[in-house]
Amino acid sequence: MSPVLEVRDLRVRFGAMAAVRGIDLAIERGQTHCLVGESGCGKSVSALAVMRLLPRGAKLEAGAIRFADEDIARLPERAMRRLRGDRMAMIFQEPMTSLNPAYTIGSQMTEVLRTHRGMGRAAAVERAEAMLARVGVSAPGMRLGQYPHQLSGGLRQRVMIATALLCEPDLLVADEPTTALDVTVQVGILKLLADLKRDLGLAMLLITHDLGVVARIADVVSVMYAGEIVEHAPAGQLFAEPLHPYTRGLLRAIPVPGKVKRGEKLATIPGIVPRTEAGFRGCAFRDRCGFATYECAEPIAARVEGAHRWRCRLEAGWREAA
């Protein structure tokens, strides 16, 4: 079965700054693919590029985005509009500001069905209500008449999810969907996303910088650093055997219950992320990496071992030395 979404060598620039430097991604039906990495590494830009929603000033330089059996990287806006909200949908970090304050939930949900399905008002309202109930919103009929400010953050995010799923898309892109929510609410939303993915057979691209979220929901993980995917593996394998020093550093930075002593600091990775201009060569992590040698300034070829892919020239023994 071919993947729902297949991205090859995606490159995005803001002027001279290369925000995404040739990433590859493939997501299959019923799979949750997590994109993780520090703030500013290019996760959101990659997701927006997939949706072809890049802000002004961003240039989609190169790459193929295969979706629904065509390369949508160069698809005209008119054709993209037919895909967005219908075959591919996206939800965002801020459920507070992502809904329009001037319109009711009902209006913002039904317009999707009217646009893509040409549904009449009554049918659209009925479908929206059913979808709200599906994502665990209580009293869905009443919610349709409410405005975003009358809903809690968690409810708003459920509304966003329901809206995204109205047309039963093949791909759901979720950019930090739980980051702005309370921890208890986060768990509920993640569980909902996992259920929906399973029941609807969604391909889900989930962006987060929280490895706790990854551990909970991911089937496959791509770790991003300075605009590149430095390591890619099935979730279990990545947690069990990280092959890139950066992934290793990230994993060390998560608190493990029972193992962290009170007052003891979590490991952090010292140093800052370099600014990657066009023409940057070598491993972007080398300045922060304890194992770097002068060879790391040379271009790094991707290495593959089964389902595991990573970009580091260190031999497998480096971890024992650590």
Partner: protein, 305 residues
Amino acid sequence: MLRFLLRSLLLGALVCSTVLVASFLLSRASGNLAINIAGPEASAEAIAKIQHELGLDRPLPVQFYDWAARAAHGDLGRSFLFHEKVSSLIATHFPVTFRLGVFAIVLALVVALPLGIAAALLEGTMFDIAIGAVALLGQAMPSFWLGLLLIIWFGIDLHWLPIAGVETWTGYILPSFVLAFVAIPVILRLTRSGMVDAMRADYVRTARAKGLSRASIVLKHALRNAAMPVVAVSAVQLGFILGGSVVVEVVFNIHGLGYLAWESIGKGDFPVVQAVVLLFSLIFVGLTVASDLVSALLDPRVRGA
């Protein structure tokens, strides 16, 4: 919502009474009506007699109370100049000014809204910059000067439009344009900045992610939010336009309320002056309250509160 309404009404009443007291004191300080009526050669006794007849020799607070009590019952007194009741003077002059104001604000919106939206969508382009420069120039141009220029071009040189009076509806075109000209830059810039913000907002990104049409994104999602302050400001601008009608009516020789005010101020006919001030301040306050109300109704976050 009710509390909100009560508060604006109370505030409006306060503003009105302050303006009335001020205009009363100013009109009393600016000259002696009795001398104006009696003429420069009149004897002191004659003046005192007129003052007594008109009640001008009483203490000012008593006079004000007397005037306010009558005004409250709809009796605005008589004009000394026109020998007519002030209320009927206003009744004949008001419709002209009202029509002028409505034409002007409609014209201003018809010009400023599309230009503001276009400038926002073309943010940073030559079009946007040119529109901004023209708006700035427009704001700097005094309306009497623009009025005179238009009279010279369209009235005298081209003979397209009447240069004075409103005997035919074409007479309204030039003066409404002059009045609209003052409001256009304000509404245009507010529309532009509101639309620029809205187009960058997260909910517009959501609308795009939903695959909505460009028209729906711009006109439904962005404009609705950008329009809230525009509506409020347009109501206030209508107040300014009505106030500005004093100059424009004089330049175009249109016998509206503004012209009446100008004439009576010149001749010291202050019962009329005061009635016009009262009416203008009532309209102004009414428009401000209406603008608060409309923006509250447009904003679900306020409406529900």
